[in-house]
């Protein structure tokens, strides 16, 4: 009788596995965590992780006077309620869709083409881009010198009043913006709960459905998704051509990574340049060795798969409206669209509707609810 009761008890606490995972699959799933990964300050940014710089960067992020027309802030395109993206496809002069800023601190390269190798350089780029905020080094520095509250925030963050050198002040503003964006980290998701339970051989949490488990099985197996989307961030942090057309319209092509590497090499706002605060250039190995190849044409950054529920539309140009469209893209992949050097790895997955539903369910399990983003205290209280 005792044995029977024990057996029943064991059956009751057995994990509710919808399917079996092999030892290799379990090891791969284990490598998708823990979340979040360890956080290290950016050695190229001396104010990375500093509270005063984070507060100042936050104020700058919502500062509309930073726009060239005095009416546009970073937050106009990176909306907190949309996981710091804007929910729009690339339109007009902007060929690419606005990426989420959540978890951006773990990027290796920034922007869809990876033209920047630091978050501070990436923060400076849209400020100066004529198609985006259309400001200038002089205008940014002038605002920070003239406005008493911003000048106070600058002083608190950098220990000095805004200097006479416009470029130095603007780059420092970008470093404060980066310090703020480093704090935008997504919460653990239903998948993370499942992963933890799997490692401890505990029951599957109710939030991780049987359909999501089947989707995970496809993700790590037949779908080969984990060849590019691996690690806690579900990305290899590199670039691939996945058959999304890069000819935008007749006469206009988005070269993607090929242009990104050329821009990186032309820039002095890099890990190897004079504005890096790391004298040893200890994180510059990739910048030093990145290669410019013909196959970089039409390659775009492999995005993280976390927070997908909040970051539609998908792909570098936002051309796919729903997650189902994105999965269907891989299912019906048009190999003709892959250019000559296209990777042999990519082939149509020919998924059934049930399989597509399962993959979508798994991908949705990689999102957590977005936290509220409360109003901040003024960065400085300056008497008029």
């Amino acid at each position: 009788m005792k044995r029977l009761l024990l057996l029943l008890l064991c059956l009751l606490v057995q994990p509710a596995w919808a399917i079996d995972f092999s030892a290799d699959e379990r090891a791969l799933i284990e490598s998708f965590g823990p979340w979040p990964p360890p956080m290290q300050p950016d050695p190229s940014n001396r104010v990375s992780g500093r509270a005063e710089a984070i507060a100042f960067g936050r104020a700058l992020f919502f500062e509309q006077r930073l726009g060239g027309d005095g009416k546009q802030s970073c937050a106009d395109c990176h909306l907190p309620a949309k996981a710091w993206s804007d929910g729009k496809p690339g339109t007009g002069g902007l060929l690419r869709n606005t990426p989420s800023l959540l978890d951006i601190r773990w990027n290796r390269w920034f922007g869809w083409d990876g033209a920047q190798d630091t978050l501070w350089a990436q923060s400076l780029r849209p400020l100066l881009d004529p198609v985006e905020m259309n400001s200038s080094l002089a205008a940014i520095a002038g605002l920070l010198r003239k406005d008493a509250t911003l000048a106070c925030g600058y002083r608190q963050a950098f220990g000095t009043a805004p200097e006479a050198d416009d470029e130095r002040v603007a780059v420092n503003a970008a470093k404060a913006l980066a310090a703020f964006q480093e704090t935008l980290i997504s919460a653990p998701t239903p998948f993370d709960g499942f992963r933890t339970a799997m490692a401890a051989n505990q029951p599957v949490p109710a939030e991780f459905s049987a359909e999501a488990q089947r989707g995970l099985k496809l993700f790590v197996g037949e779908g080969q998704c984990a060849v590019c989307h691996f690690g806690p961030g579900f990305t290899n942090r590199e670039f691939h051509d996945i058959g999304i057309p890069y000819a935008v319209r007749p006469g206009l092509v988005d070269p993607g990574r090929h242009l990104g590497i050329r821009r990186l090499r032309d820039s002095h706002y890099t890990l190897l340049g004079p504005f890096s605060d790391d004298p040893a250039r200890s994180t510059g190995t990739e910048t030093r060795h990145v290669d410019l190849l013909h196959r970089n044409w039409g390659e775009f950054r492999v995005p993280s798969l976390r927070n997908l529920a909040h970051t539609a539309p998908y792909m570098h140009n936002g051309s796919l409206a729903t997650l189902r469209d994105a999965v269907r893209h891989y299912s019906e992949l048009n190999e003709e669209r892959l250019h000559a050097d296209g990777e042999k790895l990519l082939r149509p997955l020919n998924l059934s509707d049930t399989q597509i539903d399962a993959l979508v369910a798994f991908l949705l399990s990689l999102s957590a609810a977005l936290p509220d983003f409360p109003e901040a205290e003024p960065v400085c209280r300056v008497k008029p």
Partner: protein
């Protein structure tokens, strides 16, 4: 005078199969490759080679060559690395290659091109990263 076949074969073997550790004592390699009169040993730093992170290779070539190049590619995917390694000549047949990265899991092949006294040698080594 005709050479006996066996001693001649042994002599040839000695001439062309000199492992790197034989002329570079103290170099502990993970892998040793031989071919065309050259022997090359290498180990990674860090070890094992990581997935998606930069690493270096410590290399010893025997006899010391005039030049050395290293690359890696995924034969099944028909692509190489996104990074071009730089090679530092440490002298005496020792080299350090930096800036390698295996950005996808799976089967990779390292290719070492050696410019040696006996001509060029291409040595390859398979490696699977998970």
């Amino acid at each position: 005078m005709r050479w006996p076949v066996l001693p001649a074969a042994l002599l040839l073997l000695l001439m062309f199969a000199v492992p790197a550790w034989a002329c570079l004592p103290g170099f502990e390699a993970a892998t040793t490759l031989t071919g065309n009169g050259q022997s090359l040993s290498f180990r990674s730093d860090p070890a094992p080679m990581p997935l998606g992170k930069p690493f270096a290779l410590e290399i010893a070539v025997c006899p010391p060559p005039r030049g050395l190049a290293v690359d890696a590619h995924m034969p099944a995917h028909r692509h190489g690395m996104n990074y071009r390694p730089s090679i530092r000549d440490l002298g005496g047949g020792r080299y350090r290659a930096e800036g390698l990265m295996l950005h996808m899991p799976g089967a990779w092949e390292f290719v070492f091109d050696i410019e040696g006294g006996a001509g060029r040698a291409r040595l390859t080594s398979a490696y699977t990263v998970r």
